[in-house]
């Protein structure tokens, strides 16, 4: 199989996550946005990045990436988290 497997993140669909979802879509070209009842799942081939600065631009306040936990439903891939970025990937 040469196709790069998807990684994904799923969040509850509410007013807190709307700007987060927008930020993820902006930072990940090729992201597929899959809306299901009460939730949203974002699929990206290979690598998905959640960037603090983009979310902060969207919401106009400081954001701690660990705030993601409040609305997180599920994810896949290896996680690499720092203060600025939360990255999911199947890459080593």
């Amino acid at each position: 199989m040469t196709q790069v497997p998807n990684v994904f993140i799923a969040l509850q669909r509410n007013e807190e996550t709307r700007p987060i979802v927008d930020a993820i879509l902006a930072d990940n070209p090729g992201a597929l946005h899959d809306e299901q009842p009460a939730m949203v799942k974002i699929n990206v081939p290979g690598r998905l990045v959640v960037r603090r600065s983009t979310i902060e631009q969207e919401i106009g306040r400081e954001f701690d990436l660990q705030e993601l936990h409040v609305n997180l439903i599920t994810l896949t891939g290896h996680i690499d988290e720092s203060d600025d970025e939360f990255v999911l990937s199947w890459v080593h």
């Binding site: 599920t74 994810l75 690499d80």
Partner: protein, 515 residues
């Protein structure tokens, strides 16, 4: 003046200071005495500090975010109850999924809490110990919030009243119960591999994501709130599972065969438990988000496939039974719901035959199997029911010694033939539903020969209330078993069509929507 003087510690430093740096090396007790369970399973760990918790969650952050989750959750639960939210669900058939959930899943959350509390004490490394302590707290939170959310339904609907009593007695509930008891009675490494990796990472998306999204789709804000709140912790648990397996495999090459054996065992054990979820998704939700088959393709085949391709670099192989599970995706829910329809008198929730509209959906979702194998069955049942002969099976089914599910699974390549497997051990014959379950028994016959099989126990006379008198002329063993289960015949069981739940729901809804 935007110069920052006291720069906050970065995430990595903060995590190290607040977890590892709080650990110490004992000086007057040996490590072996403090952590006595770490060697007997054969797993070799050389450096516990190599374990990396990718979320780097510290206890203070944990309490902060968990507190926020709880406040959100209880605000929704209160609003839902206050506003008679239960009358807004699609149809009272839906509520039967909650009865199954409360009796079958919530008690597992509590078991899981106990299991992780043990690990939070027994692992030598500070990183995994803290992660397990957090998970132990998460799991008791899940049990509590689920019981709380569903207590609202207990005020109005039948079958919720004795969930804990039932969990320890009712025939099909021994399936999830024995699964978790198997895990919690194994060693610390097998436990974490079974629950965090095989169950949480590979399989729980199938339980919580489409099913809870389905709860929202059916108007149940209560179940949506507890389900997604639990699932937000689940992301951390899954990550722990993946991290643990990488850590264990990187520590010593001798660990691989042990780990592979557990992956094979626990994938199959977990998959068999999910049989209940398959039928919930396809048959019990009045409005369905996706079929079991579609969920299997997304979360198991696609995502699990990517996972096992990734783990191949350690020499890990796709679990035994994976191929069969993929083949069964066209059949699992249909076979299971058929059995519950058969035994609708012996379960504390209602069952029903799918309507013509439901069957249209099933045909479209299962083009290769539904019309050929299962539609004729449902049409036959519907005809019988229409003529006043709703079929209830009054014999007791044979159970698989390992998964404890009635032996209804068909051969993977012939769906007209029930699969039977058997093993002889110490002069007794043991029966299995599949190669997977036989394989598990053959590896650990001492453990699985002791299975508390509900059907055997009924036949041995161990499932009657204390005041029963078998010498009475009108002694009816099955009715006595239901009394032992604390199920009220005619109220908690039988077909949905004639249920008090249906009558009440319709009357209350009419009241809510008219003057």
């Amino acid at each position: 003046m935007d110069m920052k003087v006291n720069k906050k510690l970065g995430l990595k430093d903060r995590y190290n200071r607040m977890t590892r740096d709080l650990n110490w090396t004992p000086s007057y007790q040996s490590l072996k005495d403090i952590y006595p369970y770490l060697e007997y399973e054969g797993i070799k760990i050389h450096d516990w500090d190599k374990f990396e918790d990718p979320f780097r969650m510290t206890m203070d952050a944990y309490w902060k975010y968990q507190g926020e989750k709880e406040r959100k959750l209880y605000a929704i639960l209160d609003a839902f109850a206050q506003n008679n939210g239960h009358l807004g669900v699609t149809d009272a058939r839906y509520i039967n999924t909650l009865k199954l959930f409360l009796t079958g899943v919530s008690p597992l959350e509590y078991m899981s809490h106990k299991g992780f509390a043990i690990l939070g004490r027994q692992f030598q490394g500070a990183g995994p110990r803290v992660a397990c302590q957090m998970q132990s707290l998460d799991e008791i939170r899940h049990a509590q919030t689920q019981i709380h959310a569903m207590s609202n339904y207990n005020k109005y609907y039948n079958g919720f009243q004795d969930w804990q009593h039932m969990h320890h007695r009712v025939w099909y509930l021994s399936v999830p119960k024995s699964f978790f008891e198997d895990a919690v009675t194994s060693g610390p490494f097998e436990y974490i591999l079974s629950i965090s990796f095989a169950f949480e990472y590979v399989l729980t998306n199938l339980l919580f994501v489409p099913f809870i999204s389905g709860a929202a789709y059916n108007g149940d804000m209560g179940a949506m709130a507890f389900g997604f709140s639990a699932q937000s912790d689940e992301s951390r648990h899954m990550t722990l599972g993946l991290e643990v397996i990488k850590f264990v495999l990187e520590q010593d090459p001798d660990n691989l065969p042990i780990v592979q054996k557990w992956i094979d065992k626990w994938f199959w054990r977990g998959y068999r438990v999910l049989t209940l979820v398959a039928m919930m998704m396809d048959y019990m939700l009045p409005k369905r988000v996706m079929s079991w088959k579609e969920a299997w393709e997304i979360y198991a085949e696609e995502n699990g496939g990517a996972l096992f391709r990734d783990l191949a670099r350690y020499g890990v192989k796709v679990p035994l039974g994976w191929e069969q599970a993929c083949k069964e995706k066209d059949h699992l829910s249909h076979m299971a719901w058929n059995v519950f329809y058969n035994y609708g008198a012996a379960a504390p929730f209602h069952t029903w035959a799918p309507s013509e509209e439901d069957m249209k959906w099933l045909s479209a979702k299962y083009p290769d199997s539904f019309d050929k194998y299962y539609r004729p069955l449902w049409e036959h049942y519907a005809k019988e029911q229409k003529e006043g002969r709703r079929f209830y099976n009054k014999t007791l089914p044979m159970l698989c010694q390992t998964c404890q599910i009635p032996m209804f699974f068909t051969e993977p390549d012939d769906h007209t033939k029930i699969a039977y497997r058997e093993s002889d051990w110490r002069g007794n014959k043991f029966h299995f539903c599949s190669d997977g379950c036989k394989h598990i028994f053959d590896n650990e016959p001492e453990k699985f020969a002791q299975s508390w099989l509900p059907v055997h126990q009924i036949y041995q006379g161990n499932c009657f209330p204390e005041d029963v008198d078998p010498s009475k002329p009108d002694f009816d063993p099955l009715m006595e078993v239901l009394r032992y289960y604390k199920m009220e015949f005619g109220r908690d069981n039988l077909d949905y069509a004639d249920s008090q739940d249906k009558k009440n729901f319709e009357a209350w809804r009419a009241q809510a929507t008219t003057n």
